[in-house]
């Protein structure tokens, strides 16, 4: 008998996970469930590059540059690589852009689906674990050059602090206390953050810090885009606090980026850090 009624699988109680449900009933919709012929695909698909994040008392900031590259070509100048995962967390992606954006979409639905079915929000560690599982499912494609390396950060409602999680392509995750960077320009961004980060930054100072770090990444990594002054394209910046997440408006980021660029006109390598003693080390 053919019926128009909702399929029995939908009515079955059981999993609260959307990706588990997909893998049983519509596996073709999963971004990672493809078998590819041998060979590297690394240069065939656009890659997103640098993401940085840092915590401040009461929250955290995540920012990403806007460039996607394909080999030596700039594939896109205004790609967005930092997304809200839910109201209290955000996810940034480096790696194969097409796959990564799809993975973020799945992750967003995953969190919302759980919330609606269970009637409660997943813990921050629970969310970070789910993302691990999604990345691990992509390992086969990562080995053929289509790696996705995200960074996840959120406000922990139980502990009242911002927390940052970094990942590797096998889904291994580690928590970072103060700041973290991923992507091709991450080494340079991390160097900048090491010198500029303090634990007592305000929200606006923390946004400035991430813009500075992205500037340094773009300065030394050709795949990372700096502030585009002619086209007025600036990093995507998200701030998460106890009130939830919000994207800093383009105008506000532009104002900060203009200050950073003005500073670099005087000293192209950026602000000086003290030789022996940092700001908050007494």
């Amino acid at each position: 008998m053919t019926e128009a009624r909702i399929p029995a699988a939908y009515m079955q109680p059981g999993t609260s996970s959307f990706s588990d449900f997909l893998s049983e009933h519509a596996p073709d919709l999963l971004p990672a469930r493809k078998s590819l012929p041998a060979g590297s695909l690394a240069d065939l698909a656009p890659h997103g590059t640098t993401i940085v994040a840092a915590t401040f008392p009461g929250g955290l900031v995540m920012a990403g540059d806007r460039r996607a590259t394909m080999g030596n070509v700039i594939a896109q100048r205004d790609i967005e690589k930092v997304f809200p995962a839910d109201e209290y967390s955000t996810v940034g992606i480096a790696g194969t852009a097409g796959l990564a954006v799809e993975m973020v979409r799945l992750f967003q639905v995953e969190l919302e689906h759980y919330e609606k079915i269970e009637g409660s929000i997943l813990s921050l560690d629970g969310k970070a674990n789910r993302l691990s599982a999604l990345i691990r499912a992509n390992l086969g494609m990562a080995m053929q050059g289509l790696a996705v390396v995200p960074m996840f950060a959120g406000y922990d409602l139980d502990r009242g602090i911002g927390r940052i999680f970094g990942y590797d392509i096998t889904g291994g995750r580690h928590e970072e206390r103060h700041f973290f960077t991923v992507g091709s320009g991450s080494l340079f961004a991390r160097g900048a953050m090491k010198k500029l980060y303090r634990e007592d930054l305000t929200e606006t100072e923390c946004v400035t810090l991430t813009v500075q770090a992205l500037y340094d990444a773009a300065d030394d990594d050709s795949a990372t885009g700096g502030p585009d002054l002619t086209r007025r394209i600036f990093p995507v910046v998200w701030v998460i606090t106890a009130e939830g997440g919000r994207r800093i408006s383009d105008d506000d980021v532009a104002a900060i980026a203009d200050q950073v660029v003005a500073g670099r006109m005087q000293r192209p390598d950026g602000p000086n850090a003290p030789l022996l003693q940092g700001g908050d080390v007494q």
Binding site: A4, M11, P13, F18, A26, L29, V109, E112, G119
Partner: protein
Amino acid sequence: MSMPFYVSPEQLMKDRADFARKGIARGRSLVAVQYADGVLFVTENPSQALHKVSEIYDRIAFAAVGRYNEFENLRIAGVRLADMRGYSYDRRDVTGRGLANAYAQTLGTIFSSGGEKPYEVEIFVAEVGDDSADDQIYRLTYEGRVGDEHGYAVMGGDAETVTSYLEEHYTEGASLDAALAVAVAALGHATEGGQTTDRVIPVGDLEVAVLDRSRSQPRKFARILPARLDALLGERGPSEPAPAESTSSTDDADSTDDDGDAPIAPPL
């Protein structure tokens, strides 16, 4: 070998309908009211954990009365359908009408199939649009009938009395607190032998949720918790909990035990 009795199809359907209707009327009423910023749902439900009103998608909510386990299955199916469609197409492609159709087909098939017990549920699927002219409330009955409701709608319990109260007192485009006051008063309104009584329902026994188009987030569904409810309702005089004999407002597990009317197997 026993011969089955002949039962006319008319009688068979009538018996099944009576069975479902009786189960639905046993619980408490649920009201959906359109107000200036969207759709408001109010019901009397002392349980804080077992909800009768919940979120399906960005602009879509689900409300049900009847057997909890049955409408909970339908709710989960709705969330999965909506998330699946939104993920494989786009968030804007998830509509209340599509969902109402899927529920109607499901309830209709179950009701007319001989082998399954008819669902003892009635459902509202509501969707908010960009302005109140685009708001939709669909009513789905146990036999899979779909109706389009305007202004206000009531299901479960003594729906007729509550509807007649709303008929008199409902105003279009009311603010949230005005709409809430009317809806709560309607639920407390009862008729017994020509006598009308008005009960003030305690705040803790109310389950209230809105689809509020003025919310800045894409997800327009929000529960109104007792603290905010208290402020919205203002001073209403001494409250009085529901009469004890019918407090099983989540309706189910125990209702077959304490109510001799409910058959364990469906009338076939």
